[in-house]
Amino acid sequence: MNEFEKQYQELLNFLKFDDFTILTKRIIDLTLDTEDLNHYKKTNDFLIWLDQNENNVEGKKEKYQAVLSNLHATLSNKPIAEKQVLVSTSGLEKSYGSSSFGLGPIEMELRQGEILGLVGENGNGKTTLLRCLCGELYATGGTINYHFKYDDQFDLRTRLVYIPQRTDTWYGSMFENLQFTASSYGYKPEENELIIELIIARLGLRKFRNHSWKSLSSGYKMRFELARMLLRKPKILLIDEPLANLDILAQQTVLEDFKAIAKSPFRPIGIVLSSQQLYEVEKTSDQVIFLKHGKQKNLHEKSVSENEIPIENYLVIEFESEWSQSQLGETFGKLDLVSLQFNGGTYIVSFKESVTVYDFMNLLVSEKIPVQYFRNISNSTRRFFVS
């Protein structure tokens, strides 16, 4: 079963459990994958029908099924894209003249369909790395290799979309802006409006099509940037702090969107995103780079370069408890305790690798240790933040 068939099965399950919201989004993704005007029209008609028949569950199911089957028939014949390397860096460094801060050396490789998360505290080089990758800053050392064809630097930058944390203001109506992008990118006149309708529906922006930029919340501004990005069909999307200013639900939705966009079986793209939301990013990303003072730290990987710090495979647990550190230390001493740190409201405890998470849970139960929550961060870059 290829990637598309797997995703298709997943969609059938969404239908089975009446999860229409996500199903609609995924149907739009598949429609865009067809790159076929007829499908654009059919799906647009379907979306209009949905607006008028929101409560007709049975009718909806039938329609969904029909649209899905139709898309399946077209896409099952379409070749699945090979996941090629998009960009790789070798000893990438960036320094700012007299400033003491310097980024790198960075070694990384990004393939189509992959999401690379950049995490680290503020001022540690995440934005610098993104700006280097999108061509906005030049590397003072090492190289960045883009593994696709382009004519010149400008042409390269048309294929890389960088969305900074503070985006530029859009003037005029949102819909016109998107139409301008689409026609600039060579979309045929007859597909221009249809494709934009699909994309704004995909990102839940239909109500805001004629809004002005200033009347939008930062979450919706981000979505419009994503809509524009989708029209630009970039090779790589580089996005700085996309989750900042978003509520928890919106964060999950945006990350889910990224995943769906990156992992399209037919038009996969590479995404590099920076964020402070460790756990969310880790959940979504295929690889994570932690930056501390501009230096790269890769998680639980064999040491690929001398810059990387070897990490012991300890069991590291983050938890919150009302017990004091001495009480906890005494109790955890019964296992192979390595360290116990109090870190601003939460505790981080490390055990030797022989200890498992089940041993920890057994201890919690047997000793009746009050715990609000705990999280196994042995495989999380969270460790870098506390170490």
Binding site: G135, L137, Y138, D152, T158, S184, E193
Partner: protein, 515 residues
């Protein structure tokens, strides 16, 4: 309609949509037409007006003021819409000619926006030309020019004319060698001249000058004058009378006032063969107001020709006999100029083109760089200009200022090319690119001025005063001077070619990393 056109352009031609080229061009074309119409309506000639009439009511100042206001407002509104989107800054795909196309379209808008005054003046010319065809106007100017011979005006005053000696010699030599010698010998006391061997007093009517119109050159005027003199010399009274008839017909047509008819006019001025006893025919009825007490004693008024009239406390001098020559001269000069020196000619279009190129380059440079770079460039170029000016004053060399500007342009250009090829970062090229583009139109003229000055100073050009000899000895300098306008057109071509080059390079430059 514009909404639909814009909608079509948005999905078919994004650049044209972004430029709002259709609405702004339509608006400007409409206003150009309105200004042509205004010019046409305002261009009617008041045939009673004279050169001395300062209370003209032609609304020119107000219309020019409004044309400037409309241009400024149009530019502001257009820029507000145009600058809303910028595909280059957003890194949307562009082909190699896209920026050139954009600049050309900006140039069209700037041209149309700068041409309102020209449209107004063109409308005025159109109206003035609409009175008569060119040949009819020319015919009338010829009649008026001939008629002016018999109206009060200037004399040749041969005794004052240094250049006349040769002519007098030749004229006299043809008829009477002794007289000719006498003329040469008695230069200082000469109070007469010879025409076709006949002696005339310097105050003879034959010594009168004629009024000229821009239709005619010096030769045509001389021949016309000679023709009238011949009428008098050969006593062709009927020809003179016929001229007066034609002249007065024009007067009548324009409902102007003349208090003599052709018979009276002939009677007053025709005094064959000497033409010394004739009456001055005033060029207008009312001559001048003046302080009677002081003036009357100094200027003995010939009461057979003029009279003084006191109105309230002011004395006025009136002509006893007059035709409206001053009014006709003024009006027909306007008509003549509308054909020979129209307000809108190839030269004025060139001027307008340079103005439009200037505006378009300023706007284009702002568009492709950034507001910050643009402002720094204004300040930097201003400071550099002042420094070069100070150095020029210190060094006091004619070449220094121009050479420094030329050198600056070349250095900025080379720096831009280096930045593109180095691909390390834009450096300060955003600022210098603005300055380079602004200096581009002046490159050709500066080279021209330096080459001309060099060609003059490296030869003994200044030592030779005779113009004819200069042209003969220095054909290259003559060429530069004679073809200055053509070279300015050539410079326009140069600007276009350079912009084609720049447009491609600017696209590459835009892709280079910032600092």
């Amino acid at each position: 309609m514009f909404k639909n056109i814009q909608k079509y352009l948005l999905i078919n031609h994004p650049l044209l949509w972004n430029l709002k080229i259709v609405p702004v061009s339509a608006f400007l074309i409409l206003f150009n037409i309105i200004f042509i119409l205004l010019g046409y309506l305002n261009g009617a000639i008041d045939f009673t007006e004279t050169d001395n009439d300062y209370s003209r009511n032609d609304n020119d100042d107000i219309i020019i003021f409004f044309s400037v206001m409309i241009s400024i407002l149009t530019a502001i509104v257009w820029l507000v819409y145009y600058l809303k989107n910028n595909a280059l800054k957003s890194y949307y795909p562009k082909n190699n000619f896209s920026l050139f196309k954009e600049w050309l379209l900006i140039l069209v808008v700037c041209f149309l926006n700068s041409s309102l005054i020209m449209a107004y003046l063109y409308g005025k010319d159109l109206k003035v030309r609409s009175y008569y065809t060119e040949s009819e106007a020319k015919k009338r100017c010829e009649i008026l020019s001939q008629g002016s011979f018999f109206v009060s005006g200037s004399y040749s005053y041969h005794y004052n004319n240094d250049n006349y000696e040769g002519d007098a010699m030749i004229e006299a030599a043809n008829y009477d060698v002794d007289t000719a010698t006498a003329v040469v010998d008695s230069v200082k006391i000469k109070d007469h001249f010879f025409y076709r061997g006949r002696k005339y007093s310097n105050f003879s009517l034959l010594d009168k000058n004629i009024n000229s119109y821009s239709f005619f050159g010096y030769n045509e005027d001389s021949l016309r004058k000679m023709k009238i003199k011949d009428w008098l010399f050969y006593n062709k009274k009927d020809s003179v009378k016929s001229l007066f008839k034609n002249y007065l017909a024009i007067v009548k047509e324009h409902k102007l006032k003349a208090n003599i008819d052709e018979d009276k006019w002939t009677e007053l001025v025709y005094d064959y063969p000497k033409f010394e006893k004739y009456k001055n025919i005033g060029a207008e009825e009312f001559e001048v107001s003046y302080d009677y007490e002081n003036e009357i004693r100094r200027n003995q008024i010939d009461t057979s020709e003029q009279y003084v009239k006191k109105v309230k406390d002011t004395y006025y001098l009136y002509n006893k006999y007059y035709v409206p020559e001053n009014s006709l001269k003024h009006s027909y000069e306007t008509i003549s100029n509308s054909w020979t020196k129209p307000s809108v000619s190839i030269d004025t279009i060139l001027l307008l083109l340079y103005i439009a190129i200037g505006f378009s380059l300023v706007l284009f440079s702002f568009r492709v760089t950034s507001g910050r770079n643009f402002l720094i460039a204004i300040v930097a170029l201003g400071v550099v200009n002042i420094l070069i000016g100070i150095l020029t004053a210190i060094i006091s060399s004619e070449y220094f200022y121009l050479s420094a500007l030329l050198l600056l342009t070349i250095i900025l250009f080379v720096y831009f090319i280096l930045v593109i090829n180095r691909r390390k970062g834009k450096g300060i090229s955003g600022i210098t690119l603005n300055a380079t583009l602004w200096l581009l139109p002046s490159f050709g003229p500066i080279v021209y001025a330096i080459v001309l000055e060099l060609a003059k100073s490296t030869t003994n050009y200044y030592e030779i005063i005779d113009i004819g000899l200069r042209n003969e000895k220095f054909p290259f300098i003559s060429f530069l001077k004679d073809y200055a306008y053509e070279l300015l057109w050539f410079n326009v071509l140069f600007i276009f070619i350079m912009m084609l080059f720049f447009s491609r390079k600017i696209k590459q430059w835009r892709g280079i990393a910032e600092n």
